[in-house]
Structure formats: structure tokens, C-alpha cells
């Protein structure tokens, strides 16, 4: 354990943990849009900014990506922090004015939010789906198309690789805006415009998982697909 100072309070922190994890353990309110405790931090939304004292100087840092060190001093609610979060939230709201998750973050950061006419479901490039697919599901069916030198990309976006996708739906589950939609109908599931055949439970007959997902589980565990054909409720 090491000792850090958050907003003037000296607290014990586990080595290797982040400022955000420690602040939240202390019930300090820090807004985030791209953070998930089970995924590697990504630092996309810049809403979790805090001030950290490094080399004797206070500087702004994304708390989700900042690992604590002995004696580290952190401010989570200074004027600089609030202004920086307000700026980041204002830009996100400027770009995605109808997306509820963004509107909510903007309100929390003190950005005036107008009444929305329709509910938007924009992709805000938070990368939660990409990281879930890679780090949790392990198939990497989603990846970023970023702008860069000579790349001629007008707008960055998420690319879907249909051959790698097993239709598990984790990306739709983790998406904070509803951009990644998933529809199920008549034994079929549609996600990222790919149609998956659903497997029916051999006990209750309910459609419970895409066949491709069961095949993937079978390939990883060595358990034959036939043994996976019972849904969780009937097992």
C-alpha cells in the first residue's frame, strides 16, 4: 500500500491502481463516458480530468489513465479541473447534441443543455465496444478507423469485421448511447447489419445464443456444441 493525497485527504491506495479507482472508492464524483472497470482505460472523453502534482507542478491528467504513486497529490474539484471538464463536455455536446449520455454528462459538468427534439444515438467514439470485443470477448471484430497522415479519413469511425464477429451482443450491451443496436426476431439476431442464426434451447425451446457464439465457445473449451445447446435457465 502507498499513501496518496486526494483533495487534501491522505489515503492508502493499492499500488498499480488508478486515480479514478481511488477517487470513486472514496465516493468522489468524477464523470466518465469511456471508462469501464473491466476494460483497459482509453482516455477518450477527457471528462475524468483531475489535477496531479508532478515534479512540483500541478498539471491536468485523465484520472482513468493515471496510476497512483507514493506521495501523489490529486485535486478532483479545483477551478482548473471544473473548467477543463466543462470544456470537454461542451465540445462533446456541440458534436452530439441529441445523444442522451452526452447531454447527461454535459449537465453534470455545468454546460447549459437545450431541450432535445429527438433522441440521437450517435457513436461518440468512446471505444467501449472495441475494447470489450478485444479484451472480454477476445475476437477483435471491431476496430478504429482513425484519421492520420495521408490516410484521407474524413470522419473517424468504428469498423466492423463480419467474419470475426460471433454475434454475442457485448458491444451493444456496453454501448453508452444506443448506437450499437441489436435486434432479435424469429430465431435471428441482427447486429452491425450481420444476421446471426440463433440456437434454440433443447429443453425450453427458447432462442438463447447465436450459433456462431456457441461454436466459438466450443472451439475454445473443447466442449462439443451439442453439449452447449441448453440455455442458462434450464441447465
Amino acid at each position: 500500500m502507498i499513501t496518496i493525497k486526494i483533495d487534501g485527504r491522505s489515503v492508502e491506495a493499492k499500488e498499480g491502481t488508478t486515480v479514478l479507482e481511488n477517487a470513486r472508492a472514496l465516493k468522489i464524483d468524477i464523470p466518465t463516458l469511456c471508462y469501464h472497470k473491466d476494460l483497459s482505460p482509453f482516455g477518450a472523453c477527457r471528462l475524468c480530468t483531475v489535477e496531479v502534482k508532478a515534479n512540483g507542478k500541478w498539471g491536468l491528467a485523465a484520472s482513468c489513465q493515471t496510476v497512483v504513486s507514493e506521495g501523489m497529490e490529486i485535486r478532483t474539484d479545483s477551478e482548473a479541473v471544473r473548467e477543463s471538464r466543462r470544456q470537454a463536455a461542451a465540445l462533446l455536446y456541440y458534436r452530439y447534441p441529441r445523444t442522451e449520455a452526452v447531454r447527461e454528462a454535459a449537465r453534470r459538468c455545468g454546460v447549459p443543455v437545450a431541450e432535445a427534439e429527438t433522441d440521437g444515438k450517435d457513436c461518440i467514439l468512446c471505444g467501449l465496444c472495441v475494447r470489450t470485443c478485444r479484451e472480454v470477448v477476445g475476437v477483435s471484430a471491431l476496430r478504429f478507423i482513425d484519421r492520420g497522415l495521408g490516410r484521407d479519413v474524413e470522419e473517424p469511425r468504428i469498423e466492423f469485421l463480419p467474419d470475426a464477429c460471433i454475434g454475442c451482443g457485448s458491444c451493444a450491451f456496453v454501448c453508452p448511447t444506443g448506437y450499437v443496436g441489436m435486434e432479435s426476431l424469429d430465431g435471428k439476431r441482427v447486429i452491425w447489419n450481420k444476421v446471426f442464426k440463433m440456437a434454440a434451447c433443447n429443453v425450453c425451446g427458447r432462442y438463447f445464443a447465436p450459433v456462431e457464439q456457441l461454436e466459438r465457445i466450443s472451439a475454445m473449451t473443447g466442449v462439443p456444441v451439442s453439449a452447449l445447446m441448453t440455455c442458462v435457465s434450464c441447465r
Binding site: A61, Q87, L91, S140, I145, G148, L149
Partner: protein, 636 residues
């Protein structure tokens, strides 16, 4: 222009706009390859050579270029640029208000303080903030949709690593593609300037890593190993073909030498549509990559695979085909439109001591020794070998000798470890493996008994003033002679090209007095029309990547010559400090990924590769350490 009208470069404000008369500060505009710009915006500030230059219009042009580089991963930089452009351009036209300018300043400040990467912290907004602060009146007068007036702007992008790389590879670009799990795209990008990525990913001296901004934070990004990861993964997945020519051209080109320079020129010429024949004297293609670098550093199946890909685009490589005499008329008669000479530097230079010329096999040249090892010739290990020299050839010889079964291997180098030109990793690995290095000693004579080498007589050295290479000159200490017992001596003190193919009148105009080929360092042209030259035979022994880059340029230059167009030269950033950046932000220290290494105990029984590569997860993780220090400049 002798002095700037305005400069905010690196945060230092020089303002001579009101004339200033005697008070004007004599600050010269930043020299960007001699370009006579009126005004320039770069990642580190605004410079006006002409006080009448239109700064609001330049700011819009700058932001449009910045937008192309802003990756989109963090919200503030990507959206911030769009927001500021919307304010300055405004679809409905109209006035720019003081409140608009305050908003731009606030956005710019926050982007610089909180963006995720060094592009955002530096290039994205820094000069825009400077412009808005110091040219408020001009912005207010300009109104929205700042008048571009059909003006064209120059622009350039580089980064500290890109500038350090002889081939100016887009290092942040190919690293970012790896980070985004786009290994194949990354490899395609690397190949635009480096056609042997698996080779370079193993054996490059990686000056990019020495320039990496992370050196000042924790450790440089493992750029070389990331390149290797892109190449290795492609090979493991079945290896895609190289892009071939879009259209065939009728001219045929001869390339002499299938080393890195020759292969690189050959492929790039083929890609441009020429029919290319490569003449190689040795039974193997690859030049020094094939016969200079031992297998434990560069397994030959990697090199052969990459050569094979080049051959499959239609490049014809004729092995065992030395060109004895460079005679332009003979090439012209055979139907060649141009020749690229890239014969390398394979002849060892003399140590300059008594008894080294006796041809009894007791003294051998380092490059020749490595060639024999690499071509699989049988070498009888002796008990002890002394290697003279301190470069990578000396280290390669020493580590090879250990693997061949020599019991004792000693390097004798005339300066100290600090001046040793061999790469740091190679020196460390050689010491781990048991090579002994004696510093500050130079041979004065080879001692023989009964017709056999028995020792080297050496003299101790001390270091004097720096010489023209910048390293301190070694000076013999009188009376300090000592002998080192040995059964064999390897001279690894340098190589030069074999220029015996030059004869007659061409020799004087093509060769330099110091035994290399005279060619333009940029265009590779020689004084003989249609003959171009590059690689080690022009530069003297240099690195693989330098040779590859000369091949790249030679291809463009030959194409320009044959098409009658101008050779497109790269912009030089010489004299500009690319590491300068005002807001460096807080960067989390993150240790670099380290590759698995073969245990020392397992290394010496054969020539198995010592260094392992990153797997996909390690590569993606390491790529995430890149700070993306793109430096953008836009000028009018």
C-alpha cells in the same frame, strides 16, 4: 527577409509589426529548407516574415491540415478543431465577435492542456491560440469565412522519430495502425519506404528510438520491434503479395548488386512499371543483410521471404553474375535505359600493422569472415581469436566465433566503450555471451612462430582531442607495448567498395579518391548520364536503412530522368528543434514491453535467433505508448 515581422515561436514573442525602427528586434524567420514564406504557422507558433500576410486565412488553412492528422480518439482535439473551424468559417458568414475569439482561446488552451497525445497538446491548437491572441484586430475585421482568396498554402508534417529515420518512415502512423489492431495496414505503410520490414525490424540501428520523446519520460517506444511485429504477423498469416506495377513501361533498367539499396531500387522501379534485372555477383541475394549479418540476429528465411516477394512482382535477379566491367555502351546495346550501381562495400580495409599481409590464413578480414560464415563455408574453430575493431562487424565476428566453437574471443578496440560505434545492444549481448573487450589498445604487429600466428603485439592508447568524426582521437602511449596471445586475427576496422568494375575514362569521373563512387547524395546521379549509384558503395559502410532509402530515391530519380520530370526532393527540417513543445502535459510513466531473449546458455550451440518478437497483444500494448508527436507546418 532578414528579420521577422512577428514571431511567437516556442512562446517567445517578437513583435516588429509597427516597424519598430531602431527598436526592432533582429530575429530571423525560422529557416524551413530555404522556403521564402510570407507567414508560417507551425506546431510551435506563428511566424510572419511579411507584416501584411493574412493570418486569419492562414489559421483556417492550418486547421484544415490539422484536422487531417487529429486521429479522433480524444474528444477535445477532434471536436475542438471542428468547433474552431465552424467559428472562423461559419456557414452563414457574418462577423467574428470578441466572444467568438474568447471561445477559441479557451478551447485552444484546454486542448493543449488535456489532449491525449502530443499532436493535440502541441500542433493542433498552439499556433491558433497565438494567432487569436496577437492578431485579434485582424480576426475581427476578417469576418467569418475568412477570405482564402484562392491562395495555395504549403504544408509539411514530420515528427522527431520520422526525422531521425533515414527513410523518414511515418513512425507514429504505422504504430497507430498497430495500436488499432491493423497490422496489415501498418505493414503496407512501412513498405512505402522500407521494402525489407522483417529485416529492418531485426537489424536496424533504430535512430528513431534515440529521437523518441519518451526518452525524457521513461524509455523510448520499441519502434524497431513494432515494425518487426507487423512483418512477422503478416508472415504468420500467410503473407500477402506486394503491390505490383499499375502500368507497364517499355524501358528496362539494370541494377548491379542485390543488397538493400539494389533491392529497394529494383522493387520501386518495378512498381513504377519498369522491367528490372538485378545482377548479383554472389550466390545469394541480400548483400550485407545476407552475407554480413549473422543468422542469430537475422534468420535468413526472413530475408529470403522478403526477397521472394520482390521477385514475385517481376524483378529478375541473376545470381552468380558479377559485372566485371561497367561499360555503358554494353548496357545500352543490351537494351537498358539506365543502370543503378549498388555494389556495396565488401572489401575489408587494412589494420595498418606489421605482418598483416602474410597470406597464411592467420589474419582474415571481418567482412570476408562473415561472408564465409553466412555462405556456409566450413570454418575450423581455433582456441583463441583476436578481433580488431569496435563496430558491428567486429561484434558480429566475435559472437559468430563463439558459436563456431572458438574457446576464447577477444575484441581489441583503440578507444573506450563510449566511442565504440557498435550498437549498445550488440555490445551488451556480446559481453553476456562471454566476449572479452580490451579497450584503448591498438595492434602494432602480428607475431608468428613456425609460420603460424601466435600473438598480436599491441600498444596502449589514450584519448586526445575530438577528431573530424567528433570522437576523441586515440594516441599511442609510448613504451606501453604488450602482447595478446592468439591463434588467429580478424581485422574488422572498416570496409570499402570493390571498384574493379570501373575502368577506363569512367573511373576518374565516377570514383572518389577515397575509393567510393561519386554520386549525388540526394538524386543518386553520377557524372555519367544514365548511370546512378547508391548504398554503401557511395556512402561507405553505413546502415541497412540508409541503403534502402538511397534505393527508394534512386528509383524516383531514375524515373524522373527517364520521364523528363523534376526529381521530387524531400523537404528538410534541418536546424528546427522538433522536440520543442510548450505544453507537454502529464504523461503516465509506462514501462516498455521487452521481447523474450534466448537464454545465454542456449545461444552458443548454433546460430538460432537470439531476440524474440512481440506477440499481437504485446505489440498493441507497446504501440499504445506512442505519444504521436506529429509536427505540422503550414505556410503562405
Amino acid at each position: 527577409m532578414n528579420r521577422v515581422a512577428f514571431s511567437s515561436w516556442n512562446g517567445k514573442i517578437v513583435d516588429n509589426r509597427k516597424g519598430g525602427g531602431a527598436k526592432a528586434k533582429e530575429v530571423k524567420p525560422l529557416n524551413l529548407d530555404g522556403i521564402a514564406y510570407r507567414a508560417l504557422m507551425g506546431w510551435n507558433g506563428v511566424i510572419l516574415a511579411d507584416p501584411k500576410a493574412d493570418v486569419p486565412a492562414l489559421a483556417v488553412a492550418y486547421l484544415k491540415e490539422a484536422r487531417k492528422l487529429s486521429c479522433g480518439e480524444c474528444a477535445v482535439c477532434m471536436i475542438g478543431i471542428d468547433r474552431v473551424l465552424a467559428i472562423l468559417e461559419g456557414p452563414e458568414g457574418g462577423k467574428i465577435t470578441p466572444a467568438d475569439l474568447d471561445e477559441i482561446e479557451a478551447i485552444a488552451k484546454n486542448v493543449a492542456l488535456t489532449a491525449k497525445c502530443n499532436f493535440g497538446r502541441g500542433a493542433a491548437m498552439t499556433p491558433v491560440a497565438d494567432a487569436v491572441r496577437h492578431f485579434r484586430k485582424e480576426f475581427l475585421a476578417a469576418g467569418k469565412r475568412a477570405p482564402a482568396g484562392g491562395k495555395t498554402y504549403g504544408s509539411a508534417v514530420t515528427a522527431p522519430c520520422m526525422e531521425a529515420c533515414p527513410a523518414h518512415l511515418d513512425v507514429p502512423g504505422y504504430i497507430e495502425l498497430i495500436k488499432n489492431n491493423r497490422f496489415r495496414d501498418s505493414l503496407d505503410l512501412i513498405r512505402r519506404g522500407c521494402i525489407l520490414p522483417g529485416v529492418i525490424g531485426r537489424a536496424c540501428t533504430h535512430p528513431c528510438e534515440a529521437a523518441c520523446v519518451r526518452n525524457d519520460i521513461d524509455a523510448p517506444v520499441a519502434i524497431r520491434l513494432l515494425k518487426r511485429a507487423a512483418a512477422d504477423r503478416d508472415l504468420a498469416e500467410g503473407a500477402g503479395a506486394l503491390p505490383g506495377p499499375k502500368e507497364e513501361k517499355k524501358e528496362r533498367i539494370a541494377v548491379i548488386g542485390a543488397g538493400p539499396a539494389g533491392l529497394s531500387a529494383a522493387y520501386n522501379l518495378r512498381r513504377l512499371g519498369y522491367e528490372v534485372t538485378v545482377f548479383e555477383a554472389l550466390p545469394k541475394a541480400g548483400g550485407m543483410a545476407a552475407v554480413g549479418i549473422p543468422d542469430y540476429r537475422l534468420p535468413k528465411d526472413i530475408l529470403n521471404h522478403e526477397i521472394d516477394l520482390i521477385k514475385r512482382t517481376g524483378v529478375n535477379i541473376k545470381l552468380n553474375t558479377p559485372v566485371d566491367k561497367l561499360d555503358w555502351s554494353a548496357f545500352a546495346e543490351a537494351g537498358f535505359a539506365a543502370v543503378f550501381l549498388a555494389v556495396g562495400a565488401h572489401v575489408g580495409t587494412k589494420i595498418g600493422c606489421k605482418g598483416e599481409d602474410v597470406e597464411d590464413g592467420g589474419v582474415v578480414q571481418g567482412a570476408e569472415f562473415l561472408r564465409h560464415v553466412n555462405l556456409g563455408r566450413k570454418i575450423e574453430p581455433k582456441k583463441k581469436v583476436v578481433i580488431i575493431g569496435g563496430g558491428n562487424v567486429a561484434l558480429d565476428c566475435a559472437r559468430s566465433c563463439l558459436r563456431l566453437g572458438f574457446e576464447e574471443v577477444e575484441i581489441v578496440y583503440r578507444r573506450s566503450r563510449a566511442e565504440m560505434p557498435g550498437s549498445r545492444e550488440e555490445i551488451e549481448e556480446a559481453l553476456h555471451e562471454g566476449v572479452k573487450i580490451t579497450y584503448l589498445a591498438a595492434p602494432v604487429g602480428i607475431v608468428r612462430k613456425g609460420g603460424k600466428v601466435t600473438a598480436v603485439e599491441c600498444v596502449k592508447m589514450k584519448l586526445g582531442e575530438p577528431d573530424e568524426s567528433g570522437r576523441r582521437r586515440p594516441i599511442p602511449i609510448e613504451g606501453s607495448e604488450f602482447t595478446v596471445k592468439t591463434d588467429m586475427v580478424i581485422a574488422a576496422t572498416g570496409q570499402k567498395p570493390d571498384l574493379s568494375l570501373l575502368s577506363g575514362k569512367d573511373k576518374g569521373s565516377v570514383a572518389t579518391p577515397w575509393g567510393t563512387i561519386k554520386a549525388d547524395a540526394v538524386s543518386c546521379s553520377t557524372q555519367v548520364p544514365r548511370i546512378f549509384a547508391g548504398g554503401d558503395c557511395v556512402s561507405g559502410p553505413a546502415t541497412l536503412i540508409e541503403a534502402l532509402e538511397m534505393g527508394n530515391r534512386a528509383a524516383r530519380s531514375i524515373d524522373a530522368y527517364l520521364r523528363g520530370t523534376t526529381f521530387p526532393k524531400d523537404l528538410s527540417f534541418e536546424g528546427i528543434d522538433l522536440k520543442e513543445q510548450r505544453d507537454k502535459g502529464f504523461v503516465q510513466k509506462t514501462p516498455a514491453q521487452t521481447p523474450p531473449m534466448l537464454p545465454v546458455a542456449d545461444r552458443l550451440k548454433d546460430f538460432a535467433e537470439v531476440e524474440g518478437g512481440f506477440n499481437a497483444d504485446e505489440a498493441v500494448k507497446e504501440a499504445g505508448r506512442c505519444l504521436r508527436c506529429y509536427r505540422l507546418m503550414v505556410w503562405e
